[in-house]
Amino acid sequence: MATALTRKDFVSDQEVRWCPGCGDYAILAQVQKIMPEFGIPRENVVFISGIGCSSRFPYYMNTYGFHTIHGRAPAIATGLKVTRPDLDVWVVTGDGDGLSIGGNHLIHALRRNIDLNILLFNNQIYGLTKGQYSPTSEVGKVTKSSPMGSVDFPFNPITIALGANATFVARSVDVEQKHLGDTLKRAHSHRGASFVEILQNCNIFNDGAFNDVTDKAIKADHQLVLEHGKPLIFGKNRDKGVRMSGNRPEVVTLGNGVTEADLIVHDETNLALAFMLGNLQAPLPTPIGVFYATSRPTYDAAMNAQMAEARAKQGEGNLADLLKRGDTWTVN
């Protein structure tokens, strides 16, 4: 490229139409900010989304974009990436789009390890349809469609992705700009399906759903930032940690004989650890960062390798010969 691109190059001419105060603005800003760092020409970038508030995302990116139908973005992105491995393909989805109506496509894209960057905006509510409980809403949630409280047990996006054998699984938060940017960059550099759950505040229908990890006054005591090779330490005074008690995790305060050496050291390549961390819940802290990262051949590369192998072995297909395959006979 002759000149380096800037954030503005990735801003489309469309007016952004999310509700004022929506967490989606912060995510959009961060994505637009980091895109130039990849050094990829705009024309080689494609954003594909399904339906929902989050899925309006492609309209605001000055790249190629496809706002598709509810839940199907991973399948549409699969067809694109398989035939066009040269493109940088992103999928933007939400908790309803990706885990309810499109749950099947999400898990299959992850297990196939299609080289996609999948961003799941989790606001634990249906926003576009005006506030019904979602597959990540907590039991007991009172909404228009659950006046006595929801009786649906929620999905955990992280353990769903791990269970689908995703090769990159991470979580970040809309308002944690630096952490979000770093996490997205890690996701982008990963070859294969990268899954990033982004905790996102819906200030209209589910305001404050993630207060414990976003409220400056208390978040340090609830947010556990995962870093590969480092002990699990958190807290305002960095004096709390997570250690194993038997085969269960527990929170301890450092000091009084408890040292960093007693704490669990994060290992992104340990699937069992990733599952355990993915399942942490109050009173244990909420982990953010990369839970799991491993390397496995991608479906798109493997399929294109088969095509190359077929051509190497059989030669470029010849149509006239193909039609004549099998028993033929001549009528005079």
Binding site: Q14, F66, H108, K324
Partner: protein
């Protein structure tokens, strides 16, 4: 042995009784219909297909109709497990697999019971005598053994000890009983090959390929085949063999082809012609899976096949591939069409080219998965929310699937639209000789991706075709967004403007109706200037309708035939052509779907001729129906 008499003057019946091994006479036949029937696992489909290949190589015109249960291995010996394969081979032009078999090969009592109703009096039955044990007879639901209770007296029954003879022939191989039992189909094939003077060399070659890795099984199958052939020659049972002379068909190079194979080849040809990779997103479903299997083997042609997690992912992945500039396909049958409807609507709205192939089967719901029907026409026309017109093409014979698949791609990329290709289970698995096309003479398919950013707008249309540019990711300066939301003319930006919405809906509809300019004038078989009655058909009913109309015309009746390939839009001259006839009869395997369209579009008081049995029309059924209509 005597086959039912042919048309007078054609048959040279031998009167030989047990002519002996040396020089048994040949008797000549114009055409013969054989049905092979047995348990699903008896290999009757294979025997039938190989007999077909032998007959094609012998120069006959042929048509086949496999008929198998949806269960892969229903309990052995039960009616539910009976699998059949019918073949019509002839020295004349053949349009159907035949109304009724002249010869029924029944490998067990259930196969006999399931097929006996279709056999005319004096028809030939060949059975494996040993399969008619007390237990098997009972399992098939017979109260007594039909071979001994005189219930088959009006037929000619040949009892052959197939199992015993095969076992004896393979004695030296040392194979176990089960392996020997599985060679019975080759014994039967050999025997029938002798009886109808078929060359068995092509079957030998085929066996060599199939059992390349298991020489002991290859040897056993070859021995069984030859033993059957020699048995026919030496036994006292068959007085003569039969000869069906080669048919007079258009000169050229031929191969035998099923509809699904032809469909796959048509797509590959189109992809080669326009120089773009082919992408098939598909979920396995009967009777469409063979197109996936065929295409999966063509990777060196740049064919991507993606076995998706479900029907919706099949069509969705194809939409993604189309967005990226591939020739995109999805293949399915009725239940899958239902599931794909929303995504097809997205392709209509975003005006991306792709071909959706619906290989129709008998419904509703799971219905009869292996049986043909034509009841998805109105779903193809209207089965999406909102105004979302789609061009529809229907193939009429197995080989015609090649041309229709090719044409569907040509229209899709020229008009930037999804196209629906309708075939059905009968075409999919039926076979006929195919005159191989000259690759250089296939219609050109021109694709030009947009590349110039100056004045580029994603919905700026070609003034003639009204198609929008195909602007694929990776093209600098053409970055744009498309989607399912209503979009502004030219720019494609999201728009809720009422007038703009109507403009876009009407423009897309005009684009599709404009395809009428591609459709050749309607050809009438029969009274080109009009007459008493015309039968209007589409799809796989072609053969039965043409044969019925031909036979009625031979008797001097004023009956004609119009067969449609283009169902949406309908040919521009169709209304005028139909009005030349006093009566219009629409023959289709549904409750009257094309009939509704014809009545609605042309205000013609057409009548229906309908069958919903998961079976093709018999020629005689059509003749009776048409005759009644002519009288009344």
């Amino acid at each position: 042995m005597a086959l039912p008499p042919e048309a007078a003057g054609h048959a040279a019946e031998s009167s030989g009784l047990g002519g002996g091994a040396a020089a048994k006479p040949h008797a000549r036949r114009d055409s013969v219909v054989i049905r092979f029937a047995g348990d699903s696992g008896d290999g009757m489909q294979l025997a039938g297909m190989q007999f077909t290949a032998e007959s094609a190589l012998a120069g006959n015109d042929i048509a086949t109709l496999p008929d198998f249960p949806a269960e892969i291995r229903a309990p052995a010996g039960t009616i539910a497990g009976v699998s059949g394969f019918q073949l019509n081979f002839s020295s004349r032009e053949v349009f159907t697999a035949g109304d009724e078999p002249n010869v029924l090969v029944a490998m067990n009592p259930a196969a006999l019971k399931a097929n006996l109703d279709d056999l005319p009096p004096n028809g030939v039955i060949i059975v494996d005598r040993e399969a008619f044990s007390e237990a098997n007879v009972k399992r098939a639901g017979y109260a007594s053994n039909p071979l001994t209770d005189h219930s088959l007296d009006k037929f000619q029954v040949f009892q052959v000890d197939v199992t015993k003879l095969t076992t004896a022939a393979l004695h030296s191989t040392g194979l176990n009983n089960r392996a020997v039992f599985r060679c019975r189909n080759m014994f039967v094939l050999g025997m029938l090959s002798w009886l109808f003077q078929r060359p068995i060399e092509s079957t030998e070659r085929w066996l060599e390929g199939r059992f390349k890795k298991t020489p002991e099984l290859l040897n056993a199958n070859l021995m069984a085949l030859k033993a059957g052939f020699n048995y026919g020659d030496t036994t006292e049972m068959f007085a003569s063999s039969y000869e069906v002379q080669p048919a007079k068909i258009v000169p050229g190079l031929y191969r035998n082809i099923t509809g699904n194979a032809a469909t796959a080849l048509g797509f590959v040809a189109a992809s080669v012609k326009c120089g773009l990779p082919l992408f098939l997103g598909s979920y396995p479903i009967t009777p469409a899976s063979d197109v996936l299997h065929e295409l999966a083997a063509f990777k060196n042609f740049g064919v991507y096949t993606f076995q998706a997690e479900d029907e919706i992912a099949g069509v969705s992945s194809a939409i993604g591939a189309a967005f990226g500039g591939a020739i995109a396909l999805t293949t399915t049958s009725g239940p899958g069409m239902n599931l794909k409807a929303e995504a097809i609507g997205l392709a209509v709205k975003t005006e991306l080219p792709m071909v959706i192939t619906d290989i129709q089967r008998a419904g509703p719901s799971t219905g009869m998965p292996t049986k043909p029907e034509q009841a998805d026409l109105l779903m193809a026309m209207y089965g999406r929310h909102g105004e979302s017109p789609i061009p529809i093409i229907a193939a009429s014979t197995p080989a015609d699937c090649f041309e229709c698949a090719y044409e569907a791609v040509r229209l899709a990329v020229k008009y930037m639209t999804p196209v629906i290709l309708l075939t059905d289970g009968q075409l999919a698995n039926g076979a006929e000789p195919w005159l191989l096309p000259d690759v250089s003479k296939l219609a050109p398919i021109k694709v030009e991706f947009a590349s110039n950013p100056d004045g580029f707008l994603p919905y700026k249309r070609d003034p003639e075709t009204l198609s929008r540019p195909w602007a694929v990711p990776g093209t600098p300066g053409l970055e744009h967004r498309i989607g399912g939301l209503s979009s502004e003319d030219q720019t494609g930006n999201v728009s809720y403007s009422p007038a703009n919405n109507e403009l876009m809906v009407r423009t897309r509809a005009r684009k599709i109706t404009g395809i009428v300019r591609e459709i050749p004038p309607t050809s009438i078989f029969g009274d080109v200037n009009g007459g008493e009655l015309v039968v209007l058909g589409w799809g796989s009913t072609y053969g039965s309708v043409r044969e019925a109309v031909k036979q009625l015309r031979d008797k001097g009746k004023s009956v004609s035939h119009i067969h449609l390939r283009y169902l949406n839009p309908l040919p521009a001259d169709l209304g005028g052509q139909l009005r030349k006839f006093k009566k219009v009869m629409v023959a289709e395997m549904n409750m009257g779907q094309l009939l509704k369209l014809v009545r609605a579009d042309y205000l013609i008081d057409a009548i229906g001729c309908n069958k919903i049995q998961g079976r093709p029309f018999k020629v005689n059924e059509l003749i009776n129906r048409i005759s009644r209509s002519l009288e009344g």
